[in-house]
Symmetry: D2
Subunit: 210 residues, 4 copies
């Protein structure tokens, strides 16, 4: 390893927020084998597993931010997104585009940030919200590990946030792509990959009032 | 594959620019096995191979933009970059940080864009330059495939540019990470992965005056 | 004047969009003398005058983009906005925060871009939308001339758009501030200040299909 | 005044930085009446007055950041900047473009941030630097009051920084434009306008080590 003096970091440095990326109704509505976006096996179960994270954040007054991919129905904002493997997805007004509020235990006081691109930072008010919340550590779950989670992580990392990804509460377009993205995130910040159990424990010990 | 109607794209759509990412003197100076940033086998040869791309761009008046990673010597702008696998790197004033101008055949009229982060778009004037050049297609070479190349590609993709990566003129932190990043880019834009020979042929047929 | 060779520009260069800034229900609901944000005399009439612009844009298939200032009800995203002359304003859920759709003749196919700050570019998808529409000229109306209009103009100008402000369809926090902001915009782009009649004439001659 | 509960702020909130905007050699070299950018009477004297601010910041270990407008010599990055009152200015390689280091008492350890546009935030690493320095309050001096100072203030304000402008150490394109811009900044943050003497006193009382 090239870096011989990685600083010793806590799972939660400073003030945390839980960032739930693109857990939308489509995961719970669309059971077709061919989807507009490929999903690895066990996708839905990994999203369901994120609910425990959200519950633990609610209990400790850790802000919960739901990111929602949504495109204008005239396709004007797809940019280059249809030039690759993804088909038309997440149209505004489509019930599958809604945040999976019931399945995820969404509460009043949780935040929603709609986005048009993969990174939650790109063309959104996410940064304004994070500054307002004075957050230092972002804990990421949701999907796709190798697209929206990975590229949100990268922008957060480049913006000086401590970043963690809950590896059993994210899922990718394929198992290979999921695993490669987790490795790429761990390359950027040692200790980025975390298990749900460890994250819930760290959140349970977090004192928002301190 | 989820997208059943990928549009048919040319290798060069509209006006191209060649983007040479972080080919700096360190590659040609530092032969130590342990480096501040890990390199896959054959790294230097892949950077040298990029010179033919640059020469072909010069011949056809395709703009050549050299991206240069450079950090202030008091470390103030490293952000979270030392929290992972990379050690201290690319300090301003260190001869290894200089663009490899001689090795790459740098010419007057080529552009240099210094950057502090992985993506060439982050905290730089790259976007201003691309607008001024009225560029539509970015052809990427250099390194690391899985870090600066990948994340520059992602921001370019999110900013609606057609993006190509010259797979034999990029190199990663490891072969596995290199290959995974190439796959991730191809996921975003079908036809993103290109061989140097095909790119040189497309450039040779490009008419900047048209 | 310092610039002796200002290029000769058309009122509409390339493809236009009409940008309607912060014409919200509050203007038509709140008649109190003391408001959360100061308005110059004749404010409402100048907003009403913008409807003719919007109608003319609809007739010629010029995209109409409504910008909407809106803040989260827990105040988390006000930043420094309450450190100056403006009181709490534009809360999400307040009927006064809604776009003045009826008064402005809003049509299906018009766009809405919510924002948290003064500039329509700051923390929004406005840039993504403009790229998707392939717009070159932004025609601005609404309010406040000296705040959201001025600072949106500045960001558009810095992003290489041709910018026009319809001086009888904007209004400021005071007459002095309104006039100073118009002068500042004209400083940036000669010919930026335009009368509604001239803009409607230029739009009526614009051929979206050309 | 619309805001009846402006919070009570210190001149310096949290950690300050002194931001010296576009005090370049041209001010001390070019004595011609017709310049590429108009200057109000007393321009040079107001820039010279900024040196005392810089000296006081050096004494108290307050970071000093010099912003430098600089354009590529092939004009590629002027964007719309030549469509208004400003002629060609600040070319890279022109001695007048250099920071006025001698006149301003520049020291090793001071920072330089080159920029292509008016706002110091636009297409630069200024934000990265400010995050690295963990700065909360920006104290602005330099020129033009109504262009680069004003628009840097606006972006800083929108990014949640406490902003102060030293009104006797800034100068505009005209006295009217200078005064209007100062009023616009005071509109955004009450107490933004400050005299040099008060700022020097506040800096002298600031304890960087606290």
């Amino acid at each position: 390893m090239a870096n011989t003096s990685v600083p010793d970091r806590q799972l939660i440095e400073g003030k945390p927020a839980l960032v739930v990326i693109d857990i939308q109704k489509s995961t719970f509505i669309d059971n077709s084998a061919v989807r507009s976006i490929d999903n690895m096996p066990g996708y839905k179960e990994r999203m369901i597993a994120a609910k425990d994270l959200i519950d633990s954040a609610h209990e400790r007054d850790v802000p919960v931010i739901f990111i929602q991919e949504v495109h204008r129905p005239d396709f004007v904002d797809f940019g280059r997104e249809l030039d690759g493997r993804e088909g038309i997805h997440c149209l505004d007004g489509d019930p599958r585009t809604e945040i999976a509020k019931e399945e995820m235990g969404f509460l009043d006081g949780d935040y929603i940030v709609p986005k048009r691109r993969y990174s939650a930072f790109f063309g959104t008010d996410f940064e304004i919200l994070l500054r307002g919340l004075q957050v230092n550590t972002l804990i990421l779950c949701g999907g796709l590990t190798d697209v929206c989670v990975h590229y949100t992580f990268v922008d957060a990392h480049q913006s000086d946030y401590f970043c963690r990804v809950v590896e059993d509460c994210v899922a990718g377009s394929s198992i290979e792509a999921h695993e490669a993205a987790l490795n790429a995130m761990e390359y950027l910040q040692t200790g980025a990959r975390q298990q749900r159990s460890a994250v819930i424990e760290a959140i349970s010990e977090y004192n928002a009032a301190a």
